[in-house]
Amino acid sequence: MENQEIEKKMMSIVAEDGSVEEVEVILAFEFKDTKKEYVIYTKNEKDENDNITVYVSNVDRTSGEPKLMGVDDEEEWNRVKDVLRELSKSE
């Protein structure tokens, strides 16, 4: 395995139209109670203020192959945001 690949966790996202996009995973976790897994990834997109856009998806592994689902539940989404908020502060 290349050092780059070990240092940065990469992921290939296949869209519905079949196009493939390489992204970098910056965080992956699951809630201990719900066992729901989330992945936060970035395409290294920066805006004019150097803010970096990150994407959050729920990972569904029930069918064997991992699939990226949206976070539809607001409560769930708030929880995820709280986690990110906390991790962004501590180091």
């Binding site: 050092n3 070990i6 976790f29 201990k32 998806s57 945001k81 990110l84």
Partner: protein
């Protein structure tokens, strides 16, 4: 805290399908870095945990070994796998820790770990060939990547001394030890007052003192050295070293080792004569009853013998090796004779070859009893070999220039010929294969072989021959000189025209008969086959016939039944019809009768009416006026 509610996931994603759109968040650089860093730390922690687990497993797992304490192939594979896994984890940790990692880190580190593991397994038997947690530092501590050499050899050479292979030094050591041993043996044999005299220790005459493995190596080295010297000598000065010289050199080395010149020679016979034979070794060398009078009446056990041997050996220095004692005496105590090979000279070899060839090829022809062969049926005379190859005289008869006197000097040969009765022999049944007795020419000189064919018309008269010898024919000449004869000449002599013609004729007939036989067999087989086919066909037709016949009979029966039924029906109908007709007639008769009666009555009524009338008022009868 939210951090306590989550568990980091460090899985591999690869290709992932996006079912629905993700939620987006914009983060500042610092927040982004913090999130990344937290995740990296979590990954590091997990990797370290995995590494610890892997190390512990590698140290505590049991690895199977063979009977010779070497790891099995499967165990080695297992170790390789574990070492590689550990190396990979270490690599990942280093990379995540932003350390420089060479490209071949995993391979080298895995080899190093593997070698360390294998080295430690050999010496760690406490945990059934696992490495043991106490060896962790030994196995995993050294972070350098140069792998150590694996020592797969189980032997420990710590105690091995580096013996000088100098032949002289070795000889001195051997000499001293030989002297010591010889002294001890002699003393033990001569000492009758000691507690353990030689007579108490049964000795077997075939026991030899054999050197240890190191000593054998020493001797081998000396011999090799001597040979090398000899070889080098040959290579350097061009002199050829004979086998004798080499032998002498080797013998000289062993002579130096032997101590017989300086020690008292103790032949096996002497030992045997003073010592009782051993009857049962396992029972501590107990003595046999036969020889119990010749020795001390002391019970000997194995411990005593062992003690004596140890005592004897203890007088020998530890670092001095005992040498090999060659047994140069045979069982009778006589010095062994060395086999001396003397090669055959060329003359001897040649003579031997000639003898072999003579015995193989020529001798048999000098056997007087050998006959070439006799075939009674073909009327070939029994010619002995000597008759043909040992002519009576050496006169060469090449033409008819011989005088009658010379011809008469030729001895008459009587061949024991058996001529079968013509009437009893099947061969002469058709009178075809009779030998041409009247025109026989006997032995002729250098005449080409004439093959005559027989035909039915060539039937000769049945003249019985009482005597049949070649000598009766004046034209014959038996003094045939074979010294210059060709193979054709010889074959002409050996095979007379008549017998060959007869043979050929008979062979021809045999072939013809054989062909006829084969033809008849073929025809017979064909006939049999045709008969079988006909039988099969007849059987088939018969079956068909019987089937059709059966069908016909069935139908016939049915028809019969039908006709019977019809007939009975007809009869019934007729009966009914008849009955009906009779009824009709009866009725008709009845009708007629009644009609007649009715008419009669009517007539009477009329007549009566004409006579009387019935008063309509009171219903009284009155006579009509």
């Amino acid at each position: 805290m939210m951090k306590d509610e989550i568990e980091y996931v460090d899985g591999e994603y690869g290709s992932v399908f996006k079912e629905k759109n993700s939620r987006q968040i914009k983060t500042r650089q610092s927040s982004f870095k913090s999130i990344s860093s937290n995740f990296e730390q979590a990954r590091l922690r997990k990797l370290n945990k995995d590494l610890e687990k892997a190390k512990k497993k590698a140290l505590t797992d049991n690895y199977k070994t063979n009977s010779d304490s070497h790891l099995t192939a499967k165990a080695q594979k297992d170790i390789d796998k574990k070492a590689k896994a550990i190396a990979r984890l270490e690599e990942k940790i280093k990379i995540l820790s932003k350390e420089d990692v060479p490209s071949n880190y995993v391979e080298n580190r895995a080899i190093k770990i593997r070698n360390a593991m294998m080295n430690n397994i050999h010496y760690n038997t406490r945990n059934a060939y696992s490495i043991g947690l106490d060896k962790e530092n030994e196995v995993f501590e050294d972070s350098t990547l140069e792998p150590k050499e694996v020592d797969n050899n189980n032997e420990s050479f710590d105690n091995a001394t580096d013996l000088d292979t100098n032949a002289d030094a070795f000889k001195n050591i051997m000499q001293a030890s030989q002297e010591e041993i010889a002294r001890n043996v002699t003393n033990m044999m001569n000492d009758n007052n000691s507690e353990s005299s030689m007579s108490d220790i049964p000795v077997r005459d075939d026991i030899q003192v054999v050197p240890t493995s190191i000593e054998r190596d020493e001797i081998r080295n000396i011999i090799d050295t001597e040979f090398e010297k000899a070889k080098n000598k040959e290579a350097s000065d061009g002199t050829i070293i004979s086998a004798e010289e080499v032998k002498n050199t080797v013998a000289g080395v062993f002579d130096d080792i032997e101590r017989e010149a300086n020690a008292t020679k103790v032949s096996p016979e002497e030992v045997a004569s003073t010592v009782a034979p051993v009857s049962d070794v396992n029972n501590g060398y107990s003595l046999s009853e036969q020889n119990s009078d010749n020795i001390d009446d002391v019970n000997i056990n194995f411990d005593d013998i062992k003690k004596e041997i140890e005592k004897a050996l203890s007088r020998v220095s530890k670092n001095e090796a005992s040498s090999a004692k060659l047994n140069n005496f045979d069982r009778n105590g006589n010095p062994r004779k060395k086999y001396e090979y003397t090669p055959m000279t060329d003359e001897e070899i040649k003579q031997a070859q000639e003898n072999i060839e003579y015995e193989k090829y020529e001798q048999i022809y000098h056997d007087n009893n050998m006959n070439i062969g006799q075939n009674v049926l073909f009327n070939i005379p029994n010619i002995s070999f000597n008759d043909v190859f040992n002519p009576v005289d050496n006169s060469v008869i090449v033409n008819d220039a011989f005088t009658t006197q010379e011809k008469q000097d030729v001895p008459v040969r009587d061949f024991p010929v058996i001529v079968p009765e013509r009437s009893s022999s099947n061969l002469y049944e058709n009178e075809i294969h009779k030998p041409l007795l009247e025109s026989t020419t006997g032995v002729e000189l250098n005449k080409p072989f004439m093959e005559e064919t027989f035909a039915d018309k060539d039937v000769y008269k049945d003249d019985r021959v009482e005597e049949f010898t070649f000598a009766n024919n004046d034209e014959q000449d038996l003094a045939f000189d074979f010294s210059e004869a060709t193979s054709k000449d010889i074959s002409n002599v050996m095979n007379s025209t008549d017998s060959l013609a007869v043979f050929n004729a008979l062979r021809e007939r045999a072939n013809t008969l054989r062909a006829q036989q084969l033809e008849s067999i073929r025809k017979r087989d064909e006939a049999i086959k045709a008969a079988e086919e006909a039988d099969a066909k007849a059987l088939q037709v018969k079956k068909m016939f019987s089937a059709s016949q059966q069908g016909y009979e069935e139908r016939l029966n049915k028809l019969k039944e039908f006709t019977d039924a019809l007939e009975s029906d007809c009869v019934k109908n007729e009966t009914i019809a008849k009955t009906a007709e009779e009824n009709i007639q009866c009725n008709q008769r009845f009708i007629d009768e009644n009609t007649r009666r009715i008419n009669d009555y009517n007539a009477m009524i009329k007549e009566i009416d004409s006579i009387i009338t019935l008063d309509s008022v009171d219903g009284n009868l009155a006579i009509k006026r």
